[in-house]
């Protein structure tokens, strides 16, 4: 269960203060697939970054199973990211020169796992993301759709219970976007809590999506 209370985020710049999030209150149930819609600059990514604990809010709380992750120290926030969160980004944030297999090592080598366990995790993630056949290829040689599936594999390799997707189909063609929807279904069926931000109309009227909310200028519409 994720509970967001009075969450606000302000960015200060030379041009003044920008309110990215304004007093957000939200509850997300376990295994829920929540879609956050909104225009660019509406605060979607900021909200997801805060839930993923890669950004601190200006005020408010984010309670994950009753624990406020906003107050976490770097060590606890890292542990939280390592064990509980998988982040699927719109840009293909991967080690381009490494093979897909080696990319998936990064989240696993900091855990106390044997080599066999690591391989087991990697194979499972590759299969779920439907990208096993590209495991030994360098990421830079993959197509956009394959890179997106690689990001999914990296996000789920640690078997997290929360999956955060920030504009996952923004750089995909229609065919690959549909393939992504299939993967989402699989993840939901696997019991994951999924929070997805998008302004892609593809996510409208999908049965497996539990709830759609809109963000407008930092507030839930």
């Amino acid at each position: 269960m994720i509970e967001i209370k009075n969450l606000s985020k302000r960015f200060k710049s030379e041009r003044g203060t920008f309110h990215a999030l304004k007093n957000i209150n939200l509850k997300i149930k376990q295994n829920e697939l929540l879609v956050i819609q909104g225009e660019s600059g509406s605060g979607k990514s900021t909200l997801l970054n805060i839930i993923a604990s890669i950004m601190k809010p200006t005020s408010g709380e984010v309670l994950i199973d009753g624990e406020n992750i906003v107050s976490f120290s770097d060590i606890h926030a890292s542990e939280y990211r390592k064990k509980r969160v998988g982040f699927i980004t719109q840009s293909f944030h991967l080690f381009d020169e490494l093979t897909l297999h080696d990319n998936l090592l990064a989240p696993l080598v900091i855990r106390d796992l044997t080599r066999e366990e690591i391989e087991e995790h990697i194979q499972k993630a590759l299969t779920t993301a439907n990208i096993s056949h590209k495991a030994t290829q360098r990421v830079k040689s993959l197509s956009g759709g394959e890179k997106q599936r690689s990001i999914i594999a990296r996000a789920i390799v640690n078997n997290p219970d929360i999956i955060i997707c920030d504009e996952p189909t923004a750089n995909l063609d229609h065919k690959n976007a549909l393939l992504f929807l299939e993967t989402l279904k699989l993840l939901k069926a696997d019991g994951k809590t999924i929070i997805l931000s998008t302004h892609d109309s593809l996510f409208k009227h999908q049965e497996f999506i539990d709830r759609v909310i809109s963000l407008e200028e930092g507030s839930i519409g």
């Binding site: 970054n49 890669i54 950004m55 601190k56 770097d74 060590i75 890292s78 542990e79 939280y80 990211r81 390592k82 064990k83 982040f87 980004t89 840009s91 944030h93 991967l94 080690f95 020169e97 490494l98 080696d102 090592l105 990064a106 989240p107 696993l108 080598v109 900091i110 796992l113 080599r115 690591i118 990296r154 640690n158």
Partner: protein
């Protein structure tokens, strides 16, 4: 831990091009710096080792600013001074070797003097004095041998003494290469032959050397020597030492210049590394942080990665410098230190460096390099991962 090491090796191999340029540049700088240090300490050691066996006082007849041949009769006078040992007359002088337009130093020794025989046995391996004295023989330095060989004087060389006769002297042996720094241009022969070639009359020597082992008595001996002859110049061992020190301090200036250039170059590399943390590095940090790596884990990982690169460069540099100085005899660089005062010196350098020298090079290179890496990486790591990703 093994899994992290495995991942580290994967990254090192994958981004080898990025590390290779740093490795090559650092190896070159460490090689140059180490070579300078090895050379400098080797030369100093060789000089001091040679000087250690030198006489404490050298005495010359000296009138109106000119050095004249010294009467041999003075030797007995000096022997009567308390605390004085091994008073020897030396006959030496320069010989102009016309074919090569070079000067050689002829040194005549009394091979019936047991002390001299003992010293010669240290300088020349397997010398048989009886055999040496059987005919007119000479022992030559490496530089002399090189020029003799060049003009096909393999067995003997005919000197032209001032009395216009010809003095045929056979080449008996070459002096040990380890003594080249002082004996490179030297020809050692029996004192009688040297006298004839150099035109030093019987009853005279070029100078007189003596030892005064007791430090307490040295001042008194100096005073007695000063009082003994008004027309005598006294050169103390400390004067010779100072002469060499001055000579090598001048060389030390060149050493310092080279050393500064090396450090400056390294400084520039560090500055480049410090001020321009690459986008690849920043992205790596962001990806690792996103994957749940803690700040200290990221820093240790990156430090280890760079430590492996710079440590490899350090060992490669030390190895290359060792090979360059002690196996190849430091071509080019050697000339800066030894110069061409007379014969081009073909000294072979004997290994002379301590652990502290190696530690110094390590501290000069490895630590600043790691700091130059660590500080910008730390700055990136402590930012919010979302900030770095952007």
């Amino acid at each position: 831990m093994l899994n992290r090491l495995n991942f580290l090796l994967i990254l090192l191999v994958t981004y080898r091009k990025k590390h290779f340029s740093i490795f090559i540049l650092s190896t070159l700088l460490i090689t140059l710096l180490s070579s300078l240090m090895f050379l400098s300490s080797s030369i100093k050691k060789d000089i001091y080792t040679t000087l250690e066996n030198q006489a404490d006082f050298t005495l010359q007849k000296y009138i109106a600013g000119r050095v004249l041949n010294t009467p041999e009769s003075w030797i007995d006078e000096f022997l009567n001074i308390e605390g004085v040992l091994n008073v020897q007359g030396r006959v030496y002088g320069m010989h102009y070797y016309e074919p090569a337009e070079q000067y050689f130093m002829i040194v005549g020794l009394d091979f019936y003097d047991t002390q001299i025989v003992k010293e010669m046995q240290e300088l020349v391996e397997n010398i048989n004095i009886d055999e040496f004295l059987e005919k007119k023989n000479m022992i030559i330095g490496s530089g002399v041998k090189k020029f003799f060989d060049k003009y096909h004087y393999f067995d003997y060389y005919s000197f032209r003494p001032p009395d216009r006769t010809i003095e045929k002297i056979y080449i008996y042996k070459k002096l040990n290469s380890a003594t080249d720094i002082v004996s490179n241009d030297m020809i050692i022969m029996d004192i009688a032959n040297a006298r004839k070639i150099l035109g030093v009359e019987d009853g005279y020597v070029s100078d007189i050397v003596l030892k005064a082992p007791s430090l307490e008595e040295r001042e008194t001996i100096l005073t007695k020597l000063k009082l003994s002859h008004f027309d005598m110049r006294i050169i103390q061992k400390s004067d010779i030492k100072k002469y060499y020190e001055n000579l090598y301090n001048y060389k030390g200036g060149i050493f310092l210049t080279l050393f500064s250039i090396v450090l400056l170059s390294f400084g520039l590399i560090l500055f480049q590394r410090y001020s321009m943390i690459s986008s690849v590095d920043a992205k790596e940090v962001a990806l690792l942080r996103l994957s749940g790596w803690k700040i200290n884990e990221v820093l240790w990982f990156k430090i280890t990665e760079n430590f492996i690169v710079i440590l490899s460069a350090y060992f490669a540099g030390i190895f290359l410098a060792y090979f360059y100085v002690y196996f190849l005899n430091a071509p080019l660089l050697k000339n800066i230190f030894l110069g061409y005062a007379n014969l081009q010196n073909s000294t072979t350098f004997s290994p002379n460096f301590t652990l502290s020298d190696l530690v110094l090079i390590f501290l000069l290179f490895v630590l600043p390099f790691l700091l130059a890496i660590l500080i910008p990486l730390w700055k990136v790591s402590i930012q919010e991962p979302s900030e770095v990703m952007r």
